[in-house]
């Protein structure tokens, strides 16, 4: 049965009416096939305008409506809601975009713009004629969350969600949660004591009945979809039974292995069994299988023989036979709080990092400032343990260098460098801190004041320019730079050089992003759906972003984002089920040949072969309606609901031919 169609043309004040003859357009639209009502109105989106649409739908019994107005991005929802309120299925209403894509771009040719507007209306009417009334799809919702990464971003979003009453699992790759924040001594701009702040939060996590933490763990497999994820978690063996261990430390003393301690950025050494960090929360030793002689190649002398720690343990808490475990967690949402690594200083051979012991990166400097760190909080240079009298801090190392390194700004370095220099000056009164910078970016609350105070009251010497090279001189380091403000070459004889390395996404993020089905940008940072409006949503529904995995940021911004993510998930969990748009792919069972091309081409894993019918089904909850499978199907067995090939072909016919009468 042919639909009774209505056309409503908006003037948008003069925005449309000044370039499109709306009377003529309405008169022409009224002549089109199936149209029983066509009129125009000054502001169709206004309350009286919407009422006009609603009343006409009721009076004329319309079962298809085209509103010719602004872009569907503006008011499609408005008019669909209005239609729905008077009983017309909202999917029977479509928008003809005659403002952004007609009146505004053809302002000097009213006849042509009018003809085009009518043509757009005609093409849209032809779509509406075959639109089906649809109902939204309901999806089950598991109100549990998986947080990938136990740094401050993961911790804060987990706590917020758990406090809101939802179960949370945290997956942490390292032996303890805390992330890079546990390496940091004090914050900017208020010199808060980080270990103290962090310990409080870690204690909260550990004590929270709703939070379960998997340390030494990674995501092995992710299955499922929004509301219904199944995360398989791979956990490396801990070897030390935390229930039996009393943290006496005897095992630490007997381990014969000595390797660089990564947590202290190589400023100290540790055994194969060691305390992961200095926080009270990580007292139980961990054993790194890769360093342990017991697990060394069995051909070698030590292979399988060393059991020093096991023998020394008075509590019998160490079992070297522990194997890795796999666990499954069912969750409705996932937070990607995967964090960052510092770009390796070995990428900067001109600064001698890795060769000259007194050239260190900024996290290593943080370790020097930590009272529980390798130097008990004393700034001492690694080569000889002397107090450095001149320290050069170099900013933008690897950042803002599109030709050779990273094009982006790492955002936190200006501020932490100012903080580190001030802390150094507070500790070594007679010392001088030079800071080599490109620009100072101090654009947050109290940041500028913090930097100014460093310059004015603590005599930090800021030198604008890029350091060319650092070489070992006679008992000192020679730092060659230029002062671009005075235009002079400068050579500083320094005792210690600290590199503010660029932040980059955590190693392994590409593989993980693939597993989680989220997109990454050119620098491998996780991509948000929309930088302004959907800043914490990933490309996959139900997977959210927090922290430096998305882009470099400081603790303040990381925590804000983590809480935003938690808020987003709570909004999602405020419903009992999820609602999805029904504009997705559909399969004609009798045409599908079961070839499976659609399964390969689907970016979301929404197509699955039914083993019994050999028909490729559509998972309604996962399908995003992109149409990739439709174009790829060699049999034309699938269609996008309400955007079928028949509809496209009709509209194409309208648009390609020059049939319009105007």
């Amino acid at each position: 049965m042919e639909k009774k169609l209505g056309v409503f043309i908006c003037w948008c004040g003069s925005n449309i009416a000044s370039s499109v003859d709306v009377d003529k357009a309405a008169a022409e639209a009224a002549k089109l096939d199936g149209v029983v009502h066509a009129e125009n109105y000054m502001y169709m989106c206004s309350d009286p305008g919407q009422q006009l649409v609603k009343d006409t739908i009721t009076e004329k019994g319309l079962d298809g409506v085209v509103v010719a107005c602004c872009s569907p991005r503006m008011h499609e929802n408005t008019f669909r809601k209005a239609a729905g309120s008077v009983g017309l299925n909202s999917y029977l209403l479509e928008i003809a975009n005659i403002r952004e894509q007609c009146s505004w771009v053809h302002q000097n040719n009213k006849p042509l713009a009018t003809a085009k507007a009518v043509s757009i209306i005609e093409g849209t009417l032809d779509k509406v004629k075959e639109n089906l009334p649809l109902e939204t799809i309901t999806i089950d919702l598991t109100k549990r969350v998986c947080v990938v990464g136990g740094g401050i971003a993961g911790i804060m979003s987990a706590l917020d969600l758990a406090n809101a009453g939802y179960d949370v699992v945290i997956i942490e790759r390292e032996p303890a949660i805390g992330g890079h924040m546990s390496q940091i001594s004090q914050t900017f701009p208020y010199f808060h004591n980080v270990p103290e702040l962090l310990k409080k939060k870690i204690d909260e996590v550990n004590a929270h009945p709703r939070i379960k933490v998997y340390v030494n763990s990674e995501v092995d497999v992710l299955d499922g979809y929004v509301g219904n994820f199944n995360v398989t978690i791979k956990t490396r063996p801990a070897f030390v039974d935390s229930a039996k261990c009393t943290a006496c430390g005897k095992c630490l003393e007997v381990c014969p292995v000595k390797v660089d301690d990564e947590f202290n950025r190589g400023l100290s050494q540790r055994g194969a069994i060691f305390r992961y960090n200095q926080l009270e929360t990580a007292k139980i030793p961990v054993l790194e299988q890769g360093d342990c002689l017991h697990f060394a190649d069995s051909d070698s002398e030590d292979g399988g023989k060393c059991t020093a720690c096991v023998d020394a343990c008075p509590e019998d808490a160490i079992d070297l036979g522990t194997i890795r475990s796999l666990n499954e967690e069912f969750v409705g949402a996932i937070v990607m709080a995967t964090g960052y690594d510092l770009y390796s200083p070995t990428n900067m051979p001109e600064y001698g990092a890795g060769k000259i012991p007194d050239v260190i990166d900024a996290l290593a400097f943080e370790r020097l400032l930590d009272p529980k760190g390798p130097t008990k909080g004393q700034v001492l240079r690694p080569s000889d343990g002397a107090v450095p009298k001149k320290v050069v801090f170099i900013q933008c190392v690897g950042s803002r260098d599109p030709e050779r390194h990273k094009a982006y700004c790492s955002r936190a370095c200006c501020m932490y460098t100012a903080k580190q220099a001030r802390l150094y000056r507070q500790q070594v009164e007679e010392g001088t801190a030079y800071i080599s910078y490109m620009d100072i970016r101090s654009d947050s609350k109290d940041f500028e004041e913090f930097v100014q105070k460093g310059m004015e009251e603590e005599n930090l010497v800021y030198i604008r320019g890029r350091v060319a090279k650092v070489i070992e001189g006679d008992g000192c380091l020679q730092v060659f730079t230029s002062d671009t403000l005075s235009g002079r070459q400068v050579v500083i004889e320094a005792d210690l050089v600290v590199l503010a390395m660029a932040m980059e996404p955590k190693a392994g993020i590409r593989e993980l992003a693939k597993k989680m089905n989220v997109t990454i940008d050119g620098d491998a940072f996780l991509s948000e759906t929309h930088i302004k409006l959907y800043p914490v949503e990933s490309s996959t529904k139900g997977v959210y972003l927090a922290g430096c995995g998305q882009s470099p940021k400081d603790i303040t911004d990381t925590v804000s984002q983590a809480l935003a993510t938690a808020g987003k998930i709570q909004t999602m969990f405020s419903n009992e089920t999820l609602i999805a748009d029904p504009l997705i792919a559909e399969v004609k069972d009798d045409v599908c040949s079961g070839c499976g091309i659609c399964i390969e081409i689907c970016p979301y894993g929404a197509r699955l072969m039914n083993e019994f019918t050999r028909i490729s089904d559509v998972n309604q909850a996962v399908c995003q309606g992109c149409g990739a499978c439709i174009a790829a199907c060699p049999n034309k067995a699938c269609e996008l609901i309400n955007s079928t090939s028949r509809q496209f072909l009709r509209t194409i016919g309208d648009f390609a031919s020059r049939s319009e009468a105007v």
Partner: protein, 142 residues
């Protein structure tokens, strides 16, 4: 109509996330371009079916423009790359059949590139003016 100026008809298939929004931005910023283009909204350029392109040409369009997100920016991860491959194949088949491959253009235009969208339409319009009307168009009139 015969002696009036030839105004090329372009059918544009624009992806929802980038080029369609870019075309909206062209409007918002009042970029002006020839009125011969008709826009069809696709969710993704990867949903472009060569049948749609050929039908447009057979029905009288002088040119077909497929607009998608820049490589790496596809909302659906790789749909634009599928479009790129499909259109490359189509153009080579068109060449083989003696059809002008430049009756089909594929362009990457992001949501923030309203100006580029308008420029692209002006450029394509100019190119089609030079090529003249699509010779396929009339032959199918019954």
């Amino acid at each position: 109509m015969a002696d009036s100026k030839f105004e090329p008809r372009i059918v544009g298939f624009l992806c929802h996330w980038c080029t369609y929004t870019g075309a909206d931005l062209a409007g918002t910023t009042r970029q002006q371009y020839p009125a011969g283009i008709r826009i069809i909204h696709l969710m993704c350029s990867g949903a472009i079916d060569v049948v749609y392109v050929l039908k447009s040409l057979l029905d009288g369009a002088d040119g077909v423009l497929i607009g998608g997100c820049h490589p790496g920016d596809c909302h659906y991860q790789t749909g634009n790359l599928k479009a790129r491959r499909r259109i490359a194949l189509l153009r080579s088949v068109m060449n083989t059949l003696g059809l002008d491959e430049d009756r089909v253009w594929l362009r990457w235009i992001s949501a923030s590139e309203g100006r580029l969208f308008a420029e692209t339409i002006r450029e394509y319009d100019g190119a089609l003016q030079e090529q003249g009307p699509n010779p396929l168009a009339g032959e199918w009139d019954l």
